[in-house]
């Protein structure tokens, strides 16, 4: 009880509380601007959090994340342009509602659905996270090593369309993580005589480059010179009747559960949760044909599903050190820059901080109800009058100042720039960026634990796979890597067999 009271008093202190409100508003703005996304915003925010109290920094991450996931619905409903990838499913029914003159009603339903999905997800994080962390108390170095490998393998295999490219990206990230002084022996690795490389590649510098630069280049390529006219952004306040709310409640419950489930799985994101929730709502509906033509349940399902993914993706990130998506990886980055190692020990060593972050995820979901009201949404919609071309240098300047203030080194700016340009082309060639970041984060954890495990076992490699828990995680990792390869081979064989089977029949036909 004492811990809960301490957590609540620290979260509701002026610093974190104001950070939650401010960042939720900022998040809705960011989400409402097509081209900007929560990942980019959090990547830009991280360098600023160095000098902040960790609870204030995490409050800002939570606010931007939850706020921008709702903000993405604003252009999705008004213009059929999803503000974030997770808002694609919102366009299906949101835009038809706007065309029928029901934009304000659609936005209100989206706002409530986002808040409900986010709240359910935060409650899942608060209840499941500590239980999972407690279950991992028996873990030793061998288990931690396999957890790191499992995390990278799952994100490498599940993110993107090509498992081999995903794994290649993960290994590349691990290799980047070895640059600098070896933490156990003090030997410099891949430093090429450069003293600035002795401390390794700064995670935040790479993160900002990889996640902020590609959207900047895409915005520049599109070169939106005019923005939107005020005529397109007219909204009138409406009331949603209780009978309609009652009809949406089952959709909210179903979509929340789907979003939470998807969030816990590494590799899947808010867009997957939104699509699955939308399809589930359509299948459960008495009138599935009305979906895609302006059914409020479609908007509710998509928005509730994508927000229910938010906090749930933090469950494996905080309890095991395995991020469920890129934002969770950024949260791990935020913890690392404050000297906190994500994983089971975090719950035991810093219960107030972890608990505080969970409560912040919950409160920022509820704040959306206030900042996402009709009047506020009318204001947020106005940001779309800003020509996209003006955002290009603005984000570039924010990236530069954010990276420079970390170490005060110009060389970091060039690393960021190179990482960003590489990230842009790698994405175009279907190489996912998340495994690279994850490799950088989990690499040192994997190396330290495997070497510690081998020191304890006096070099006996079998120790890594003979303990029951480590053996289970090792088998799960192997299955995760082998499964997509095996299914691909089987599918190819089946496809090769099918024409052979059909060939004789073809010959008999005139």
């Amino acid at each position: 009880m004492d811990t809960i009271a301490t957590i609540l008093s620290s979260v509701l202190a002026p610093g974190p509380f104001l950070a939650m409100i401010g960042s939720s508003i900022l998040g809705v703005f960011i989400g409402a601007l097509p081209g900007l996304n929560p990942v980019m915003a959090i990547a830009l925010l991280l360098p600023l959090t160095y000098s902040m109290d960790p609870l204030v920094a995490l409050a800002m991450v939570a606010g931007i994340y939850n706020g921008s996931m709702y903000g993405g619905a604003i252009p999705a409903i008004l213009l059929r342009i999803p503000g974030t990838p997770a808002a694609i499913a919102t366009t299906f029914d949101g835009y038809p509602m706007a065309q029928k003159g029901e934009a304000a009603r659609a936005l209100k339903i989206a706002c409530w659905s986002s808040a409900i999905g986010g709240t359910a997800s935060a409650l899942a994080l608060i209840t499941v996270g500590p239980l999972l962390a407690r279950a991992t108390l028996a873990f030793g170095p061998a288990e931690y090593f396999w957890i790191a490998v499992f995390g990278m393998a799952s994100v490498g295999v599940l993110v993107g369309n090509d498992a081999v490219k995903g794994l290649m990206a993960a290994v590349f990230g691990l290799l980047l993580g070895t640059v600098g002084l070896d933490q156990l022996s003090g030997v410099p690795r891949y430093t090429f005589g450069q003293t600035w490389l002795l401390s390794g590649l700064d995670l935040i510098v790479i993160l900002v480059g990889l996640y902020a630069m590609p959207p900047v280049l895409s915005l520049a390529e599109k070169a939106d010179l005019s923005g939107l006219s005020s005529r397109d952004l007219k909204l009138e306040a409406v009331r949603v009747p209780w009978s309609e709310i009652k009809s949406i409640i089952p959709t909210w419950i179903r979509s929340s559960l789907i979003g939470i489930g998807v969030g816990i799985l590494p590799g899947a994101g808010g867009n997957v949760a939104a699509f699955l929730s939308y399809n589930a709502a359509k299948n459960a509906s008495d009138d599935p044909k009305s979906f895609g033509k302006g059914n409020p349940n479609g908007v509710a399902a998509a928005e509730c599903g994508n927000n229910a993914d938010n906090a749930a993706s933090m469950i494996p990130a905080l309890a095991l050190g395995i991020p469920g998506n890129v934002v969770a990886a950024l949260v791990l980055g935020a913890l690392l820059i404050h000297g906190l190692q994500p994983g089971p020990q975090l719950f035991h060593q810093n219960p107030q901080l972890v608990g505080g972050f969970m409560v912040e995820m919950l409160l920022t979901s509820l704040i959306i109800l206030v900042v996402g009201g009709a009047a506020a949404t009318r204001v947020f919609a106005q940001v779309q009058r800003l020509p996209g071309v003006l955002l290009v240098p603005s984000v570039l300047v924010l990236m530069t100042v954010g990276v420079y203030v970390i170490n005060g080194r110009v060389v970091d700016l060039w690393i960021m720039f190179a990482a960003g340009a590489c990230g842009y082309f790698l994405e175009k060639m279907s190489v996912p960026l998340a495994p690279i970041v994850l490799g950088l984060i989990l690499g040192p954890m994997a190396e330290q634990n495997i070497r510690r495990a081998l020191l304890i076992s006096r070099g006996d490699v079998t120790e890594l796979v003979t303990r029951p828990i480590s053996a289970t995680i090792a088998v799960a990792t192997l299955a995760l890597i082998v499964w997509p390869i095996a299914t691909a081979i089987l599918r190819r064989r089946k496809a090769a067999r099918e024409p052979a089977n059909t060939a004789p029949q073809d010959r008999t036909t005139p």
């Binding site: 600023l48 000098s51 081999v164 490219k165 794994l167 290649m168 290994v171 590349f172 691990l174 290799l175 070895t178 070896d182 156990l184 022996s185 030997v187 690795r189 891949y190 900047v216 280049l217 895409s218 520049a220 390529e221 599109k222 070169a223 010179l225 020509p387 071309v389 003006l390 290009v392 240098p393 603005s394 570039l396 300047v397 924010l398 530069t400 100042v401 420079y404 203030v405 005060g408 110009v410 700016l413 060039w414 720039f417 340009a421 082309f425 175009k428 060639m429 190489v431 190396e447 495997i450 070497r451 081998l454």
Partner: protein, 145 residues
């Protein structure tokens, strides 16, 4: 360039990087070299696999690397120039220049609007980073004399 060629070159680049990393790691003493060497070899193997898959896939469709190459290149050049100018002109001077110049390069032709946005934006950045957070940034050229 086709997706096949892109993947062949991509795989080859990662394979070479991995092999070079493994070769370099071989010179590190004891356990310091073992871990990066294994990673280097894995990267080389996976890179080779990507190339091999591309070769086996046969001729594929074009996969554009850019949506608009001139604008992308111009943005990269302006970005690089900006980073080069930051230590020379100072952070705020270089930033004001890029906020003014890059939209013009990309085709924006509303000078009053652009000027107002530049002043407001640089003002916000200055208020947050210099006034509120007191972060040391590269000094302005006109403050050095």
């Amino acid at each position: 360039m086709t997706a096949q060629w892109q993947d062949m070159l991509l795989g080859a680049a990662f394979a070479v990087t991995g092999a070079a990393a493994a070769f370099k790691a071989a010179a590190y003493p004891g356990a310091s070299g073992g871990y990066p060497m294994v990673l280097g070899l894995m990267l080389a193997g996976l890179g080779a696999l990507v190339s091999l898959k591309a070769v086996k896939a046969g001729e594929t469709a074009e996969r554009p690397l850019t949506e608009n190459t001139p604008r992308m290149v111009l943005t990269l050049v302006c970005g690089a120039l900006y980073l080069a100018l930051v230590p020379v002109l100072g952070f705020y001077t270089a930033s004001a220049l890029v906020v003014l110049a890059l939209p013009v390069v990309l085709g924006f032709r509303r000078p009053v609007y652009l000027g107002a946005v530049t002043i407001v934006f640089i003002g916000i950045v200055w208020s947050v980073f210099s006034l509120l957070l007191e972060k040391p940034l590269p000094a302005e050229i006109w403050m050095r004399f």
